[in-house]
Amino acid sequence: MNGEMSQADAEVLVLSETILLIEDDGQTRRILKSSLAPQGWKILESAYGEDGIAKVDEHRPDLVILDLGLPDMDGIEVVGVIRTLTASPVLILSARTQESEKIRALDAGADDYLTKPFGVGELEARVRALLRRRRNSLEIQPAYHSHGLYVDFATRTVTRHGNPIRLTPIEYRLLAVLVKNAGVVLTHRNLLRQVWGPGHANDIQYLRIYMGQLRHKLEEDPARPKYLKTEIGVGYRLLPPE
């Protein structure tokens, strides 16, 4: 019923969505394009930071995929400029495995990251999650459902395979923020700011403890979580809805 309707809406929206690739390596760009274009997205390309920024300004894409290692500009700087132009999500591609780079990019305003090399499956999942979140921010989502986990915002109830789960107010708020961003990574800072308020951005121990409690309530095997994935050194990611 309701779920089917939004599904149909999404299909229509997907067709008109534009993705801008800013990546200096032609081969990588070709692979990205050939795996994303068949999904119905319109693809724009750019090989340089400055040109990419100009294209963001001109075309207002719905999503930007940005390589951090560009020849003309520091990728993190590009993120900063894009943020001043549009609220569209930015997905970072990084060859660097260092967590600090990712966090710097996320702090600068990027929305998620993919570490090179990556599979096409991962790429599509990230793009879908980011675009979904962008659409969701335009309308209120009544519910979340993924592999047996069900969150109903209207009645504030959470169930797993039909069994109700009792959450404290903070746990519920934490889960709500995760659900709104399902499939997208949320940094520790971001979560702390949204759940506890800007004054607690560095109180990571609160987050660890409440996240642990939430995991123990939601997961069948908390050490091998199915829904609440830990992105080590960066943050958390909730499984995207089915």
């Binding site: 090399p117 990571i204 121990q205 660890r208 403890i209 996240m211 642990g212 095997d221 979580p225």
Partner: protein
């Protein structure tokens, strides 16, 4: 041996004669003049032995006078009527003088041997301290103390440590702490000079600077306090000073050579580390690359004849192997970063459960053949660690099990608190186990138990794991498991326990 001052010694001589006189006076009627003379002779002899030549002669003269005055008739007059007494007195004086001379010489010899012994002790202690020191720098710090013990004067050594002009020469006793003034320029000149001669001079402050030379090059400069001059020493003192210098020079040279040898050895070692790293990496990359090439060329050449199923299999193989190569690359980069030593652990409050969970998630595809069991104690406290590094360690430990233990065997990962509050994480396998000889080796860099096996890995894993755990103030080791297999365990202190929430 301790000698009283000169005046006091003459006083003692006087007292000795008075004592002999008082002792003999009541006996004068019982014993004869010869015995009385012998008593005085004993006194003189004692004086000669203990007090030196001067006091003993004083004692002899006084004894003669006392004998003449108190005992030789006429009593209470210095006149001596008896020829026999006069003769006895002459003999006593002669014997006293001769024994005094002999005793004096004896004493002198004792003093000399005492000084020699002290010098030997100084040289012995110097040698011992130098032998125990590990570096030239350390040895040089010892020189001032031993110099003071040997010569009762201040001195230190200015070193030439390197040919790099930017590196400061080390000073045995920092020049700012030196208790006397000296001219730095002279020692610099000495150390710079290629002259193979032993140089020595007195600078404008009066401090003597002596160049210590090794066979080929200047080692350092001995700077001694103003006024100290070996030229004023007797032969004995001069040779002691020369020996002292020789010892210092010898040991500095030895230590310098040892340091040089160690440096060369380290260079060789790092060269061989580089080589073994390269061969390890190329082995790790060549294996999957061969498989990718094989699968790709099969796909390219036999496109028509291959069934859909085998095409899928080959594509899957290419994907898997490429992913594996990417893993190896990431690991090598990570290890290179760690091996360079620029590890800045990003310490934060972390939940072990999350680190364990993400480690398993990272390994998931390769773990499918193994039975991984988790036993984590409930309510473990948060730990103050770098999550990324600790994850690296856990991934390494679990991956090792999958490399060395048969497929299908079980892996147990357990975590609990020890009695002292620290956290222990154990990875228990059912593999072939690790012998005590292997146990020594596996934590070394670039060691793989079977270097020719098809197992991939550059052998940096365990040594880096240990480095990481030690960075956290913990320990990583292995012990045999009950019923075969090995237990790799790591212990991390939890002393920074968070008190507000736990």
């Amino acid at each position: 041996m301790h000698f009283p001052s000169i005046l006091l010694r003459y006083g003692y001589g006087l007292l000795l004669v008075a004592l002999v006189t008082l002792f003999v006076w009541p006996l004068r009627s019982i014993i004869g003049a010869p015995s009385i003379l012998l008593a005085y002779l004993l006194g003189v002899f004692l004086a000669a032995y203990r007090l030196g030549l001067g006091p003993s002669i004083l004692a002899a003269v006084l004894s003669a006078l006392a004998f003449a005055f108190f005992f030789a008739p006429p009593i209470f007059s210095f006149a001596i009527s008896d020829l026999q007494n006069l003769l006895g007195l002459m003999v006593m004086l002669t014997v006293a003088t001769v024994t005094s001379g002999l005793a004096g010489k004896l004493r002198e010899q004792a003093a000399i041997s005492d000084r020699r012994q002290r010098q030997a002790v100084v040289l012995y202690q110097l040698t011992e301290d130098f032998s125990n020191s590990q570096s030239v720098k350390e040895a040089v710090q010892l020189v001032p103390r031993h110099f003071r013990a040997g010569f009762d004067a201040d001195a230190f050594i200015v070193l030439k440590t390197s040919d790099d002009p930017h590196e400061d020469d080390v000073v045995g006793q920092h020049p700012n702490n030196a208790r006397f003034s000296w001219d730095r320029r002279i020692s610099d000149q000495f150390l710079k000079g290629a002259s193979a001669k032993n140089l020595s001079c007195v600078d404008e402050y009066g401090s003597r600077q002596t160049l210590l030379m090794s066979a080929q090059a200047p080692l350092g400069v001995l700077v001694t306090e103003p006024g100290f001059s070996p030229a004023g020493f007797d032969a004995e003192g001069k040779s002691f000073f020369a020996n002292f210098q020789k010892q210092v020079t010898h040991h500095l040279e030895r230590l310098k050579l040892a340091e040089e040898k160690q440096r060369v050895q380290m260079q060789i070692e790092s060269e061989s580390i580089r080589n073994s790293l390269l061969s390890g990496i190329s082995h790790d990359l060549r294996t999957p690359l061969t498989r990718i090439l094989g699968a790709a060329s099969a796909l390219a050449l036999k496109k028509m004849t291959l069934s859909e199923m085998s095409k899928d299999e080959l594509t899957q193989q290419i994907q898997d192997e490429a992913r594996h190569m990417a893993d190896v690359m990431n690991k090598v980069l990570e290890m290179a970063r760690l091996a360079q030593g620029d590890i800045q652990p990003n310490l934060e409050w972390n939940d072990l459960e999350e680190i364990v969970g993400s480690s398993i998630a990272r390994l998931e595809p390769s773990l499918s053949g193994w039975d991984l069991r988790l036993s984590m104690a409930p309510n473990l406290p948060l730990i103050w660690v770098d999550a990324v590094l600790l994850q690296q360690v856990l991934v390494n430990l679990i991956e090792n099990v999958t490399k060395y233990c048969p497929v299908g065997s079980s892996i147990e990962l357990s975590a609990r608190l020890l009695e002292d509050g620290s956290l222990i994480v154990e990875v228990i396998d059912q593999g072939p186990g690790i012998t005590s000889a292997e146990r020594e080796r596996i934590f070394r860099k670039f060691t793989r138990l079977d270097s020719e096996s098809a197992t991939t890995g550059v052998g940096l894993g365990l040594s880096l794991c240990r480095t990481i755990i030690e960075l956290h103030g913990g320990e990583l080791d292995v012990r045999p498991a009950q019923g075969g297999g090995a237990v790799f365990f790591l212990i991390i202190p939890t002393n920074k326990v968070h008190s507000e929430l736990s």
